[in-house]
Symmetry: C2
Subunit: 246 residues, 2 copies
DNA sequence: AACATCCTAATGTCAGGACAAACTATTGAC
DNA sequence: GTCAATAGTTTGTCCTGACATTAGGATGTT
């Protein structure tokens, strides 16, 4: 079963070896070199072929299993999952998703204020009484079509934010530029019908379906940096994800 | 910084050591023994205290980082995330979620058929032409209140399914009983407004908001076992998840 | 031919060590 | 006093080695 992965490992690269393996196998699956359902060679032989240790090989496969591309069974082997799997939902911003997708989103800042945080915001961001936050609402369009209406609250002790900045780039880009390393976010996805305020902005009818998302993001120092409440036109947006059994 | 985790490791237990550590730290966080934002001792000392090797300790912390409870920074240390983190979205069924939650869901089977798969279903389940599937719709209530309207298509070569079975337990429970080990699922979450068919069943008004979910589940042999299209009352259900930066 | 038993292959778990890279805080020089 | 070099701490990566556990086929018995 010479599976001829022709992966090449570059030991002088700063990219960790296990990650090079991950990328190599991902590529092999996407190019069809590794067909869905096919079995891989066992971990030990694969490691030997690439002059890697088994733990390193195993760590690479762990990631691929976690992301849903591979399936392992003890005593049997490892095989490529037959279904075409998309990337699991990652911590990314709408703006990044759209630009990565080749679209050119535009952002219109509807309101902008630097105000004292209300109770709900203080609780969401773990702020003391009297702390101030940036509070703003934005309308995001892609291809001239409105897609999302976003209301956010952001700590003001990270980086300066103003209306002009928000109009020119995504919020997460601004915050990353201010030194924030996002680590995780909790979010809740639901639905509502468009009200009189939302409908005209999103160029739809009151009563049409909207996808709602509430999110709070945490950075690597444990600070709750940002919380927001977004609504999306249901006919233009939905959340796609891959769930992996642990 | 004697953090007194008083974890006890049982080496005779069939539970892997690293998982015992995971459970111990999770418990410490949930009981408040480890406060949000507090730093843990370093990996090596913790491992030594529990008479474990560093890789084992590290594997445990890896899982906790992945699930969002801990945050690591090279050169600095590991700390408990300040926000209260919920479990990441796992591959679970609505029925399981409800029963684990202490609720007593009831299921009403609206339609049931054993029919030849249509094109869309054949494609979703990777079935050959002429293959047959179980096709059924169910209404799930909890506390007498309707919550979800579910339409599913299931391969018929796994286990026998009938109307009575579906009324008494969850679909995933039936399939697991039939020897299926679920591994992953891809799903898409969106929104729609209730139509004339859905509204009376869900005891709501036409035009009210519904959360929609489409899911296809894959088992450990790579078979696409089940695909379904569910709608939930938006006022009673939403999807909550934790996203972790990779 | 049907069944139970053994064997093999593969993944799962665990240990102990070594060095690299990144961040902090201290120390030193100007 | 301010800034830069340095040392120390902690996580990140990688290695070798060992044994346990499981699934499934092969073997042998009834």
């Amino acid at each position: 079963m010479a599976n001829q992965l022709h992966l090449s490992i570059d030991r002088s690269s700063p990219v960790p070896l296990y990650h090079q393996v991950v990328q190599g196998i991902e590529a092999a699956i996407h190019t069809g070199l590794l067909e869905p359902g096919s079995r891989l060679e066992n971990e030990i032989d694969l490691a030997a072929q690439l002059n890697l240790s088994r733990p390193t090989m195993r760590k690479a496969m762990d990631e691929l299993v976690r992301s849903g591309l591979l399936v392992r069974k003890r005593g049997v082997g490892t095989q490529v999952v037959s279904s075409q799997v998309r990337r699991p939902l990652e911590l990314s911003s709408l703006y990044d998703d759209l630009t990565n997708n080749g679209s050119k989103p535009t952002t219109e800042v509807l309101t902008f204020a630097h105000v004292e945080a209300d109770d709900a915001t203080r609780q969401a961001l773990h702020l003391p009484a009297g702390a101030k936050v940036y509070h703003f609402t934005r309308l995001r369009k892609v291809g001239g079509k409105p897609l999302a209406l976003m209301e956010n609250w952001v700590r003001d002790d990270i980086t300066h934010i103003d209306e002009e900045l928000l109009g020119s780039q995504g919020l997460y880009g601004i915050l990353r530029g201010g030194g924030v390393n996002f680590r995780l976010a909790t979010q809740r996805i639901g639905a509502m019908v468009a009200n009189e305020y939302q409908a005209p902005l999103l160029e739809t009818e009151p009563g049409s379906a909207l996808v709602t998302m509430e999110r709070t993001a945490v950075d690597d120092t444990g600070r709750n940096v940002e919380t927001g409440h977004h609504v999306y036109r249901a006919d233009s947006y939905s959340f796609e994800m891959t769930l992996v059994q642990r």
